[in-house]
Symmetry: C2
Subunit: 344 residues, 2 copies
DNA sequence: CTCCCCCGTTGAAGCGCTTTAAGACGAGCG
DNA sequence: CGCTCGTCTTAAAGCGCTTCAACGGGGGAG
């Protein structure tokens, strides 16, 4: 074994090196780092000088081990290609920065096994908490069982029953209501809804909002389409059908459950001579890049992804610190973004 | 202080608990984990049973501290919104999985200070290595100085001089050449190039490929545009100019240095009655979602982002393990993806 | 001038694990 | 029957840091 410090062997100065150079004890060096107030001005300065001289970098591993806590948060993202999750990541990053925590992101691609494996990895690293984005109840159910009991988990984008975890989600029903209300407000009455597979809970919720708004206005939905997917291609197919109905004056607006869907619809409709928004007003959902990058910018319902990430971090750190903890479900409110697809 | 294991205090079993339950020493438990061959069959089984009974989760922190190595790799991404970096992240994740390492991703948004701060954070966590995506030489230069000497760094997406780091990059010159060659091959001769700010090295390289291909073919470029940015809006502006030239039969094809640029050009051109690809053939660069999601799918040059990530991980782990290490610069080859914007 | 208290500082114990030198034990050999 | 050898197992020494009981020394109060 080497004499004192093994990191030193790798060219790295350790706390003991700093202590020696500054002529103080190792405990004092630690105090400089963690409780500067306890150290006298002179000593503090001397130690700090020694640190910079040696280019001292504290070892977080040792620190966490000794202190019994970790400065790292884990984040499991469902789908890196979806801009909502990118927003969540950004927000989480900001929140982590504010709480001076590091964020360890990873991407499950929606696969349950990877979700579980990342959670396990995080648990082994004794992270302070894990933020988990989720889409459907199947995954939620699976995860409830397998989860290590001592790691605080915050579920994002899914309104978890508060029994097991904290959660932060967005009110999809309200979003659907907003979108539909907007179409009604600009005078449309023959409104169609294009949704997606029944399994997707967010889509179902958006539809509920649609239905509520229509009922409130005493208007009957012109059509409800439920494609197998929620991507551009599915939208295109739906758009072809809609274009026909538009030409027969049976439809004058559509609320699509995702922006990709909306973009596909817009493309199909335009290629068939339908004018947007004159003949057909369109509202999408997600505030995806696809929406504002579309030839005709599409009105949409924006999810507060960043805030979701930020709040998630807050809840996780709160749970870590606080003694007795109530799991709480925060529900955020989406906002309507009006673009050319619904305004002259 | 608590008697033996403090993790136990938090409800977690430690190695000593396992040892006690299995009736062996703590060292034997460690051997079960790290050198199963040294342990007799009977003991091994008994210990393993004890582990599952106690739901034992090894503490990676303590493990790394004692063993002096880390199972974590850091990855600093320049821009989460750019699909190239998402691909890199995916590849790195796969590579890490294969090397049974954990990956800690983070997003610098192209800001130098955040890059530096993440590198510092990673260094404090004594990660095994850091993968750093980079765009321009300014950042590269800055970083060379500030970098902790003992953490292996692999630069991605930028051909670093091999003096300081390993790097994995893509041959942008060749990509530009491929794109231009393709336009020439389909019979176009009045070819324009739309680039971007001089500072962006990748864009400059793509232009060099363009120039080489044109020279080889003995064709004079119809026009070279250098907008201030490389986004859709910049493309739209360029497209307006191009449309006019097309109508005067001065341009029949364009190579845009990014897909967003290309998408903007396509949109502007179409809105001005230019038919794609008949009047104007377009090739973009990046294989961005924007490209295949465009109303007219745009031909593009695809960067092997996943492979870049994977190779980066390999180089990092190699550098970590291997004793004497040569920094090497790997250069990958991009490929042409032909879509409707260049075929009838 | 003494006593006490507080401020700064120290030394040692310990975080959960790996590693290694040394020990225990049975088998095989002369 | 004693000895060597090899196989398993153990005890103890760290890894770099935090924490805390204890300590020393000044200054204010008496």
């Amino acid at each position: 074994m080497r004499p004192t410090s093994s990191d030193a062997g790798r060219g790295r100065a350790g706390m003991s090196d700093v202590a020696q150079l500054a002529g103080v004890s190792i405990g004092t060096v630690s105090n400089v780092l963690n409780h500067p107030a306890r150290v006298s001005g002179t000593t503090l300065e001397r130690v700090q000088r020694a640190m910079t001289m040696l280019n001292y970098t504290p070892n977080v591993l040792a620190r966490s081990l000794a202190a019994g806590n970790s400065p790292i948060l884990g984040l499991v993202l469902t789908d890196l290609a979806n801009s909502l999750f990118i927003d969540i990541a950004r927000g989480a990053e900001l929140g982590a920065e504010a709480a001076s925590m590091a964020l360890m992101m990873s991407n499950s691609d929606g696969r349950l096994d990877r979700e579980a494996s990342y959670i396990a990895t995080f648990a082994q690293s004794r992270v302070a908490g894990v933020l988990l984005t989720l889409n459907d109840e199947q995954h939620y159910g699976e995860l409830v069982g397998r989860t290590p009991p001592d790691t605080p988990i915050v579920v994002l984008n899914y309104a978890a029953p508060t029994t097991h975890f904290c959660s932060v989600s967005v009110d999809n029903e309200h979003g659907g209501y907003l979108a539909t209300r907007h179409l009604l407000d600009i005078g449309r009455r023959r409104i169609a809804f294009v949704g997606g597979p029944e399994a997707l809970r967010p889509v179902r919720d958006r539809e509920r909002g649609f239905v509520r708004a229509m009922r409130e206005a005493g208007v009957t939905p012109a059509l409800e389409l439920m494609p197998d997917g929620v991507n551009r291609a599915d939208g295109y197919a739906a758009g072809v059908r809609l274009a026909e109905l538009v030409s027969r004056a049976e439809v004058d607006a559509v609320f699509a459950a995702t922006d990709l869907l909306a973009a596909g619809i817009a493309q199909a409709a335009e290629s068939r001579g339908v004018t947007i928004p004159a003949d057909l007003a369109i509202v999408g959902y997600d505030n995806n890049h696809a929406a504002w990058d579309s030839p005709i910018p599409i009105s949409t319902v924006a999810q507060p992804g960043e805030e979701m990430g930020r709040r998630g971090v807050e809840m996780a750190t709160a749970e870590t610190r606080g003694g007795p903890h109530e799991h709480g479900a925060t529900v955020l409110t989406p906002t309507l973004v009006v673009r050319r697809s619904t305004t002259g």
